[in-house]
């Protein structure tokens, strides 16, 4: 990191390199720290992995996100919560490059990105799961998780067409890693089952497996426990904590079950109508007046 650039000088430095918007390496966490607007974030001693700055996103006249800023520290579990239509999924889509915000910037691993394409985000180490399970339904569990290795396999198309020699060895190496993921998620018994036939809870687990196979630095989970029963929720919570602790993977998750959110997450950011209304530890957020109002509605008297 360029330690010589101070917080005060950072905006000027950013302006100076505005001609090269794709690759601004100004220290993002310092700038984010200088952005004291909104609720004060909890003390974040760790290195910032991802910083979202003043992001605004609109679809025609509908404002999905308005000047949202927050950061995700390395190694933490960060929850994004809010009532329906608050812009949570839009936020994840901005982070992994599906949507391009009209304003604002995102710095990942200290590198500023203005426009990010999804497969570039994946190459940078951002993996995700979807609100409605997005698996390759015709393929087996094993094949689905193997697609997570797509970016890590390098052998050319000709070797692959032959399916012989180096391409085959490479395939076996990655297969080994995928078997570890399968063991970890305890889904050995459905390795060869087409995922379209699996119950919903297991599909969610396979989807998590596919994301884990990418060995991501940042894992985005969009409602990982939606539609699950209590037992499945407990299993999933355990996997999320294990992933975070064993592999040190940073996790950002959207979840509606408040009990789960408060138990799992280190810090919580609350969105409502596309705006950030609170940011802090679970205890701070729970006590926040605006959060309570947003969830329960503001009394008129």
């Amino acid at each position: 990191m360029n330690a010589e650039v101070t917080t005060a000088e950072a905006p000027a430095a950013a302006a100076a390199v505005a001609d090269a918007p794709e690759n601004d390496t100004a220290p993002a966490e310092e700038r984010a720290a200088g952005h004291g607007a909104g609720a004060a974030p909890a003390p974040a001693p760790k290195e910032t992995l991802l910083a979202v700055e003043d992001v605004s996103l609109a679809f025609g006249g509908v404002k999905a996100l308005q000047n949202v800023s927050f950061d995700i520290a390395k190694g933490e579990i960060r929850a994004i919560i809010g009532p329906n239509g608050a812009g949570k999924t839009s936020m994840l889509n901005v982070i992994n490059g599906f949507y391009h915000p009209q304003e604002g910037r995102i710095a990942f691993k200290g590198q500023l990105r203005r426009r990010m394409r999804p497969h570039f985000a994946a190459a940078q180490g951002i993996a995700r799961t979807f609100q409605n399970v997005a698996l390759f339904r015709g393929m087996t569990t094993l094949d689905n998780i193997m697609t997570g290795r797509a970016l890590k396999m390098r052998r050319g198309i000709l070797w692959q067409a032959l399916h012989w020699g180096p391409a085959r060895r490479e395939e076996l190496e990655h297969r080994e890693f995928v078997e570890h993921v399968i063991d970890f998620l305890e889904i050995e018994h459905i390795r060869k089952t087409p995922v379209g036939r699996l119950p919903y809870g297991l599909q969610k687990r396979v989807e998590l497996g596919r994301a884990l196979a990418m060995e991501p630095d940042l894992l985005l989970l969009d409602e990982p426990m939606a539609g699950m029963n209590l037992e499945e929720k407990e299993d999933m919570s355990r996997f999320i904590i294990d992933v975070n602790e064993q592999f040190g993977t940073t996790i950002a998750l959207i979840e509606h079950d408040m009990g789960v959110v408060m138990d799992l997450s280190d810090r919580v950011v609350v969105l409502d109508h596309g705006e950030k209304i609170a940011d802090g530890t679970p205890e701070e957020v729970q006590a926040d007046r605006r959060v309570i109002d947003a969830y329960l509605g503001v009394p008129n008297d």
Binding site: P118, A122, A123, A127, R137, M139, L151, A161
Partner: protein, 312 residues
């Protein structure tokens, strides 16, 4: 000739014709599987590939249509150059047609391939001229003496070559699709665009690969049909014969394309010979469509299709 060997001969000739249909249908299935697009231009692609190949073999000068033997390439070089042309075509199609239409309805993409068919047909005409061309790659011609002597059955050599080629092609494609990373990526893209993007699969790369493979399959189909009946513009109409094959086999199944082609090939030959005399003949021309209609009524997903077709 005995009644039985006559029957065998009819079945064999039907199988060989079926292989030809399968080759065309295969190109359709590849693109439909990977992008959900029904590529109306597949037949024209076979024509275009055939025209290009003949042009290179004869040393035809593009746009002028005169043959200069000095430019004539040997068969292996001509095939390689034609493959390269089909890959370039795939890249152009991705850039100019698919990319601007991303996220559009399937029917819009289908309309675009209709347009592509006319553009390619016109381009083939302008580049290489519109007369019927003889494709001479040195493939064996005429009847197989061995079959005639041993079993007293008439089989054309070129049809045997076509069958063997199709067999090899299908085996390679099946392994490619089922066992390799790119094959998995192709199936992934076919299943869910968003999820494919999120694991870092690039849609444009996959589309270029799919259209290139479809172009190469089209080239093989063009060579086989061309060697049999010359490269002519009616070649683009064999695409219509592939439609009933697809309805029979299912739009998403590679084995389906093969089996469907064989059933139609054998079915129309046998129907012509054994049922034809009762209805005044010429069954061969409509039998395939009739069979497809029956399938649409009772098994619309085809023999091997994954789900009910709602796209075409």
């Amino acid at each position: 000739m005995t009644e039985f060997s006559f029957f065998i001969e009819a079945v064999l000739s039907g199988l060989m014709a079926g292989v030809m249909y399968s080759l065309v249908a295969l190109g359709f299935v590849l693109i439909f599987k990977a992008s959900g697009v029904f590529n109306f231009a597949q037949g024209v692609m076979a024509l275009f590939a055939g025209l290009t190949l003949v042009g290179l073999l004869q040393g035809t000068i593009p746009f002028i249509h005169t043959n200069n033997p000095a430019f004539a390439l040997p068969p292996w070089a001509a095939i390689l150059v034609t493959v390269a042309v089909m890959v370039v075509l795939a890249i152009l199609i991705e850039r100019l047609m698919l990319r601007p239409l991303v996220n559009q309805e399937e029917i819009i993409l289908f309309m675009a391939t209709l347009g592509l068919a006319y553009v390619l047909e016109g381009a083939g005409d302008i580049l290489w001229g519109s007369d019927v061309k003889v494709l001479d790659l040195g493939l064996p011609q005429g009847a197989s003496d061995w079959m005639l002597d041993t079993f007293n059955i008439y089989v054309e050599k070129i049809e045997v070559v076509a069958a063997v080629t199709a067999g090899i092609l299908v085996t390679v494609l099946a392994i490619f699709f089922q066992k390799t990373r790119i094959g998995r990526a192709l199936r992934a893209v076919a299943d869910d665009h968003q999820a494919a993007l999120s694991v870092g699969i690039s849609l444009s790369t996959i589309w270029i690969i799919v259209w290139s493979v479809a172009g190469i399959v089209a080239l093989v189909a063009g060579i086989m049909w061309g060697a049999k009946s010359g490269i002519q513009f009616s070649l683009s109409l064999i695409a219509l014969k592939a439609l009933p094959v697809l309805i029979l086999g299912g739009f998403t199944s590679i084995p389906g394309a093969i089996v469907g082609g064989l059933i139609i090939g054998v079915g129309e030959k046998l129907a012509e010979i054994y049922a034809g005399p009762y209805v005044g003949g010429a069954i061969e021309n409509w039998f395939a469509y009739m069979l497809a209609l029956v399938f649409l009524l009772f098994r619309p997903q085809g023999l091997f299709g994954e789900k009910i077709i709602e796209r075409v």
